[in-house]
């Protein structure tokens, strides 16, 4: 497979959130601010790259019958590594993401890529696929996070971007759970529309 294509696939053409619609749980849950989105996206990217590499390496001597449990052990190991190092070095981010980090284990983006891509391709392409899918995921989360943070809190990355009067009584629904569904719905509609026009 063409490596260049693999590397760019995750951003638009096969974006895990908007096109493949994988990993919706963290997408909906953590995107209430850009910082949370970035933290979640980058942690997922790290786990995705590492698990893709390991899965591509061990695919030769993992019996097909137990491949799923082996993949999950690999993924869970990297998630726990992220959890512990983040707790030690980035306590503030860990506090706001704490609940969602262990959930990366069951994020279907990661198991999905391990099963659909890494277990069929070599280490290099799998690494590129991990980078591409991970960054595509981060990009999608940050976009949703940016829209929700601006509308729901009047800030972007914690800095005020809208007038003070708006910040005092913002459009709260954007930052609450329904806002996540609405934002994702609109973004998917826009992307589908653009795809059709092509």
């Amino acid at each position: 497979m063409d490596n260049m294509k693999v590397l760019t696939n995750g951003f638009i053409k096969e974006n895990p959130v908007f096109i493949l619609v994988l990993g919706m749980c963290p997408t909906l849950a953590v995107t209430s601010s850009v910082v949370n989105s970035l933290g979640m996206g980058l942690s997922t990217t790290f786990v995705l790259i590492c698990s893709n590499i390991i899965v591509a390496m061990i695919k030769g001597f993992t019996p097909a019958k137990i491949r799923i449990p082996v993949f999950i052990v690999v993924i869970a190991t990297f998630v726990t590594i992220v959890d512990m190092t983040m707790g030690a070095f980035m306590p503030a981010l860990h506090k706001s993401l704490g609940l969602f980090i262990p959930l990366i284990v069951v994020n279907c983006v990661i198991l999905g890529r391990a099963e659909a891509f890494a277990s069929k391709n070599n280490v290099l392409s799998s690494t590129l696929d991990g980078i591409s899918m991970g960054l595509g995921f981060t990009l999608a989360l940050s976009l949703i996070g940016a829209i929700r943070e601006v509308l729901g809190a009047g800030t972007l990355l914690g800095f005020a971007v809208l007038p003070k009067a708006y910040i005092e009584s913002p459009m709260l629904v954007a930052i609450l759970a329904p806002g996540a569904f609405i934002t994702v719905g609109f973004l998917m509609a826009i992307i589908n529309m653009m795809k059709k026009e092509k």
């Binding site: 190991t77 726990t80 512990m84 306590p91």
Partner: protein
């Protein structure tokens, strides 16, 4: 048969390797995480009792290390006790709300700080803001109730439950501390 044993052994080897790596990493990061937590708690105590120079740790229940069972006596430079610090917690609208409370010697509130909450963003989550903590400064036990319940604490608009949670948890915490101190006085 042999094939299935082989499968089991491969799975065992994978898990053993993963466990080994994590056990090592845990031994490295566990003390660092504990240190981060300790510094955080220390900072919260300093914030609610800025005049104190040292905190003497005490426990309300024998040998309990749960933070809501602990209290601290705040002392100034001359080693005189100037107040107490409590950690209180109660279930709010969507999870536990934990507050650190600084009390003066007469049990009036010096300052409070909500250190843990998962309340609704924009409504209950305002409990973490300094403006909310401001409402409690100088309050004493009989005043420590939400206005609707007959006290002096004005609720956050749209978040009476959160306000009530914080208020009631502090109220109960002070009562508990008074009980404990009373027992200590009679005992010794």
């Amino acid at each position: 048969m042999k094939y299935y044993i082989k499968l089991g052994l491969i799975l065992l080897a994978v898990c053993a390797l993963a466990t080994g790596i994590l056990a090592y990493l845990n031994s490295v990061t566990a003390p660092m995480i504990a240190e981060v937590k300790r510094v955080e708690a220390e900072n919260a105590r300093k914030e609610v009792m800025p005049d104190a120079t040292d905190f003497v740790k005490k426990t309300m229940v024998d040998s309990s290390e749960v933070d809501t069972d602990l209290y601290f006596i705040a002392v100034n430079e001359a080693k005189e006790p100037i107040g107490y610090i409590l950690t209180v917690a109660l279930n709010g609208y969507s999870g536990v709300v934990k507050t650190v409370v600084g009390l003066k010697n007469d049990f009036s509130i010096n300052k409070i700080k909500v250190i843990e909450q998962t309340e609704t963003p924009g409504l209950g989550a305002k409990a973490s803001t300094p403006a909310f903590a401001e409402k409690f400064v100088g309050m004493t036990l009989p005043q420590l109730m939400v206005k609707k319940d007959g006290g002096d604490i004005i609720s956050i608009t749209g978040a009476t439950i959160t306000t009530r949670t914080v208020t009631n948890s502090i109220n109960a915490g002070i009562k508990r501390l008074e009980e404990v101190l009373k027992v200590e006085v009679t005992n010794g």
